[in-house]
Each structure stands twice: as structure tokens, then as C-alpha cells.
Amino acid sequence: MTARISRRGLLGGGLVAGAATAIPTVADAAPDPLITRVQDWASTLGDGVDAVPYGMPTEHEKHVVRRNVGWLTADTVSSVNFTPIHALDGTITPQGCAFERHHSGAIDVRKQDWRLLINGLVDTPMVFTYGDLERFPRVNRVCFCECAANTGMEWAGAQLNSAQFTHGMVHNMEYSGVPLRTLLEEAGLGAAGAVAGKWVYVEGADASSNGRSLPLEKALDDVLVAFKANGEALRKEHGYPVRLVVPGWEGNLWVKWLRRVEVLAVPVESREETSKYTDTLADGTSRKWTWVMDAKSVITSPSPQSPIAHGAGPLVITGLAWSGHGRITRVDVSRDGGINWETARLAAPGQDRALTRFYLDTTWNGEEMLLQSRAIDETGYVQPTKRQLREVRGLNSIYHNNCIQTWHVRADGMTENVEVS
């Protein structure tokens, strides 16, 4: 059973079959024909520069794609898919495989048809065009965007056998955009009076509108009206031409196809902030306004879709960590289900509210492992266990599950999503 997901093609052909075979050593090996014979690619010609005006990943990587869970939602138009985090490295998520979440489908809006209306408690309600937006001073910032429901299917127990499905509602991009503060000040906030206690309502141009209320303090602090990601235009599925970036806060607030920002004295209490994106506790009361994504981490390899295929010897354990409260300062890894921990190496110092890559460069001798990772952020917050979360929240919170994840690595290298005592 464990091998199903791999055998059925998630990895592409043959990778798992060789799990127990070691690379031939000099003593017993015949010469490698890939070296001793002249290969076609070393003799004939490859593609010319104009073969692919916009490059896509090679066909050898065609398994590294977004996937969805069919039974999760009624319709793919109002649904989510998942980033293939098990197959990526570094921290920047390519746009083409960054998860999507739509409530009424990904709409097609041209730059010249895009308008942003700022109204409500402002001195002069304003309309901005895309051209206007490009003339305001802009900033660049790398941020993670995590859906509040990421890992939500795991509240009741180990459910999906894949890091992509358990933790793939996250991506991390470098955004270019204009601070929302700049646009609000252009409309003038004199009419709003004191900032404390005021709100902005942000909505998209799509049929769902996905309207959300945010404290004006946050809007004036670090929210961006972004139009580029990873150096190029946003993809349609991520809100082309303009989306909101709300650093550290749940993905639902990152309104795509942004069309309106209204300054208000009260929150709207829209559908997306009452019936959804509220967290029900064991006694039936529900938390609202749970915007911040707490510190979290996951080992992306080894993981069910990325088992150990090379046998005993050197092993790279790697994963991602992030926190909506600031920088990741440390990640610990356990190989025995949380009895003992060792501190992993951060590929680079943690960045504020962005993904951090960690590595544990180690040796594996074929022993079974219960792999876990635990993130710590600059506030000293330590990523909790599933049990800690359940003690406070029960089983029905759906959102904000940032528990420590466990992968069971077997002696043959196959890896499974499990829950441990």
C-alpha cells in the first residue's frame, strides 16, 4: 500500500524500484556506456534559440505539477490545488506550480480593463488604472502565502499520503507592488480620523468578490498592491493583473483581481470572514479574525512522494519553515518521532514572513525513522504538536493547523504520513 502513490506514477518511472540498489562501485562495475559511448546529444544538434519563446519545464519534470483532491470540493471552479513542494528546492515557488484557490474560477482581466476604486472614509474617493499604479513608488518583498486551510484535512488524523496534499497550500514569491498605504494616502485619510478601530474592506473583481475586512493598521503597515511576482506579471490564476499581498496573514485575505478598497468604521462580516475562515472550538464557539499564520514547518524530502531511493549512506533531509509573526530562527529535526531532536542547518538566515529552507545533512543506515520537524520563530514560538493543538481547539477548527508532521520512513526507504503517540 505504501508504495502506491509512487508506483502509480507520481514520481515518474522507475525511481522507486531502485530503492535498495546502491550505485556501482569502481571495483565491480562495467564501464558506464553513458560515458564510454558517444551519445546522440553529444553529436547532433539541439534546439535553436527560438524553439521556445517562453520556456516551460522539460518533459522529464512533467510530474512536478499542481494536483487537486477531487473529493474535497464540489467543483474545480470553486476549489484548491496544491504546490508540489516535495519536488522543489530553495524557497521561491515558480508561479506555474504555485497552488491556486478560486471561489468562482480564475478570471481573465486585461491590464487596460483593470480599475481600482478606493472609497469609504477617505477625503476623495479615487479610481486608479494599471498605468497609474506603475507610477507610484514601488517596493519588492518576498512573502509566503499560505491558505488557512493548509493541513486542514489532517485535524482528525493522518489522512493524505503526500506532502503536496498535506502542506502544499503554500507558495513563496518575490512581489513587486505599491504599498496600499500609498494609495490610501493618495485618497486621503483625514476623513477616517483615528486609525485604531478602523477597517478596510478589500474585494476582487471576480464573481465571488471574496471580500474581506482588515484592520486599517495592517493596511497601513505592510500590505502591498502587487502586480509582479518573481519578476514577471502575475499569472491569471494568482490574480492578474493585480492582487493584494498581506504578509504573514492567511491566503484568503490576499484578494486576487483586486478592484476595490473601502475604508470603514466597522468590519463588513462578509461570507468569507463569518461562515468560512472562522475556527470552531470543541465547545461549539468559534474564533473569528484569526488572520496570522503561526510558525510551521514540514520535511519535503524524504516524504511519501519523495522516498529514499538511494539506499544507505549519505542522506539529505530537507524541508520548509515559515512564520506569520516574523523570521524563522531555528528548525529542529527528530528521527524518532519526537524523543530526541537535532538542530538543522538553515540554507540562509530566515527572512521576515517568507519561506526558509532547512537541511539536515546526515547518514542513513537503513533504519526505520519517524521524521519530524519543528520550527521556532523570532518571537520564541515553538511549532506545536497535533496533541497540543487539539487540547486547545478540539478537532473541528479546519483552519490554522500548524502541527508537527510525522513521516514514517521504512527500511526500504518508502515513506508514509502517520500520526504518532
Binding site: M1, R8, A74, M126, D132, G188, E419
Partner: protein, 339 residues
């Protein structure tokens, strides 16, 4: 004191408009009242923003049956994975809470706002205020919160309080979680033993790339293929593909043969009406099936011109295609995709 009169004028202007000039860029333009009215349609919990209007449960029931029931069920009980809007009272502390307008939503304004702004699914912003009042009245009735004689209107709106209005607390994680979960964690011998208590593979709900998960819900019915078919006009097919955008929220065509809100259109031409397996048809389509009516260009063109007039009682909420050229094009496109 001032030697240069121009400077005096500039200084006076700056003082007169302290928030202008230096701290603004002068980009964009003031919004017109009509523009604000068109886009600023949100409704606040106290009812601010509601337009004048009214609607009864009875009218709402008809509208709901016509425009909403295909996903939400005739009694707002929800079809398949689509949201249920009624029931679930007192279940929020249960193992499986049922979250509906009646059991969970705190404010009626949210229902009005969402129905008005985003529903029906695939035809948002097509309802008149009176229709929204009526549909919201019916949703209240489905939740046993009002009787069948009830009428909802802008004057009476504030009198309705939903059962779970007091069921929410503001995020308390700083107190209940952060305070306890900060500090130096244990590194060695942190627990005595560890056992696996649950495995994902036992549950076995992970989608497989080649699994049955994506298998067509409908087996393609054998279709008689004409011996010679004129090749499709590429320009017409291309236009039809654009027109089909209006259809694809609800209908699949081509290799994707899943039923969505509407039945798949893969293999539709030559197929008996109302004959896609696994799709819940309206009465009028069940009748058409019994009569043995078959989808051809004429039937399709007639239906698409005015669906609800052509087949009275259809659940399809789409209003129809006004231009004959669009109908011709979309038929060409559906045919080109194996429809």
C-alpha cells in the same frame, strides 16, 4: 518682509491645502458617484447599504427552486459537496458540526450581501433586490426561523437575529496558545516511547494520478457518426470557444466527461435529451427523454436562444445567447470537441 510676491502666493496655497501637493502624487482621478454606487454594494451587519425592497417566502421558494436548488437542493439541504444552507441547529459542538445559515452564520446581512453579490453560481449579480429579499426569506424559512407567510423587506431586516450571533469570539491565540508555546523546547529524551497511532494509507483517500478519481463519471454513449462530416470552420470554432466561456462554469466537453452543475456536453449531439447517467435532470428533461427527443443543431439552437422558454422548467439558470452567430459558433465548437 517677502520680497517676491510669487513666493507669498505659493506659501499661502500650501497652508490652505495641507494634505495636498507634497505628500500626494496627483495620480488617478476622483471616482464618480455612479461608479461608487455600482461597486460599493456591501451590506453591513446593521443593514447599512440595503436597497429598498421586499420578498416573500413563497416567491423565494420559486426563485430558489429555479436558481439555487441545482446546487443547494430544493430544501437548501445541499446537493453532493455543495453547501447546505439549512439545518444543523445545535450541532456545532458535535463530532461533525453542520454549519448552515441557521446554525452558524452570525449575521443576516452576510446572507443578503453574498446572494446579491455572488450568487447564483455562474450568474452572479443578476438578481433584483426584491428577488434577493425573497431568496433570503426562503433560506430563513428553510431554517425554521420564520413561518411561511413571512415577508422580508428593508424595514423588517433588522428585526431578524440569527441563532449563532453570539457564537464567535475574537482570536484569542495570544492568550490561549502563544503564552504557553514560547520558550526553549526539549531536545533529548522528550518522551518515553513513540508508537504509530494512525496511517494515511489505511484511510486510502489520497488521489492517484492514474486512479479512478479522474475517471469519467459518464460512459460515452455510442453515437452514430455520419459517414461524411464537413470539416469545421476554424474561425467559427475559435469564436465558439470564446462563447463557450459562458457555458464552461457548468458544462464539460471534450475528454473531460464529468458532470458538473450541468451535464457533460461530451457526445451531446446525437444523444437523447436528459440521458446523461448520474445527472439529476429537471422534470422537463425527463419528459423529453421519454419522448425520445434527440439533441441536434436545431434543438440546441432553440434551447440556447432562450433555455427557459424552450424547455420550460429547466434548472439551467443561463439566460440564453442573443446572437444567432454566437449560437452557430458555440455549436461548431462543441461539435469540434467531440460534442
Amino acid at each position: 518682509m517677502w520680497k517676491c510676491p510669487e513666493l507669498v502666493v505659493v506659501a499661502a496655497l500650501l497652508l490652505a491645502s495641507p494634505v495636498l501637493a507634497s505628500d500626494r502624487f496627483g495620480l488617478g482621478r476622483p471616482a464618480l458617484p455612479e461608479e461608487i454606487a455600482a461597486w460599493d454594494v456591501d451590506i453591513l451587519p446593521d443593514g447599512t447599504g440595503l436597497p429598498r425592497g421586499r420578498g416573500t417566502v413563497a416567491v423565494g421558494e420559486e426563485l430558489f427552486s429555479e436558481k439555487c436548488a441545482v446546487c443547494h437542493g430544493d430544501f437548501a439541504e445541499g446537493v453532493d459537496n455543495w453547501p447546505e444552507l439549512a439545518g444543523g441547529l445545535d450541532t456545532l459542538a458535535d463530532e461533525d458540526p453542520v454549519k448552515t445559515v441557521g446554525s452558524y452564520w452570525p449575521y443576516l446581512s452576510t446572507v443578503w450581501d453574498y446572494v446579491n453579490r455572488s450568487m447564483p453560481y455562474g450568474a452572479a449579480q443578476t438578481l433584483e433586490p426584491d428577488e434577493v429579499y425573497a431568496i433570503v426569506a426562503y433560506i430563513l424559512y428553510s431554517n425554521d426561523l420564520v413561518d411561511e407567510e413571512f415577508e422580508l423587506g428593508h424595514e423588517t431586516f433588522r428585526e431578524i437575529e440569527l441563532p449563532n450571533a453570539d457564537g464567535f469570539i475574537v482570536d484569542d491565540r495570544p492568550v490561549t496558545e502563544y503564552a504557553a508555546w514560547r520558550g526553549e523546547p526539549c531536545m533529548h529524551d522528550c518522551k518515553d516511547a513513540v508508537a504509530i497511532t494512525m496511517r494515511a494509507t489505511v484511510l486510502d483517500v489520497t488521489p492517484q494520478d492514474e486512479g479512478t478519481d479522474t475517471a469519467p463519471a459518464v460512459a460515452a454513449a455510442p453515437v452514430a457518426v455520419p459517414a461524411a462530416v464537413a470539416p469545421p470552420d476554424p474561425a467559427l470554432v475559435s469564436t465558439g470557444k470564446k462563447v463557450f466561456r459562458k457555458c464552461k462554469a457548468c458544462h464539460t466537453v471534450g475528454d473531460d466527461r464529468r458532470n458538473r452543475i450541468g451535464p457533460t456536453l461530451s457526445g451531446v449531439f446525437g444523444r437523447r435529451m436528459g440521458d446523461v447517467e448520474g445527472f439529476r435532470y429537471s422534470k422537463v428533461f425527463r419528459q423529453a427523454a421519454e419522448e425520445g427527443r434527440v439533441w441536434d443543431d436545431a434543438e440546441m439552437a432553440g434551447f440556447l436562444a432562450n433555455p427557459r422558454r424552450y424547455l420550460k422548467g429547466t434548472k439551467m439558470v443561463f439566460a440564453g445567447l442573443r446572437k444567432d452567430a454566437d449560437i452557430e459558433a458555440v455549436i461548431a465548437y462543441i461539435r469540434s470537441e467531440g460534442g
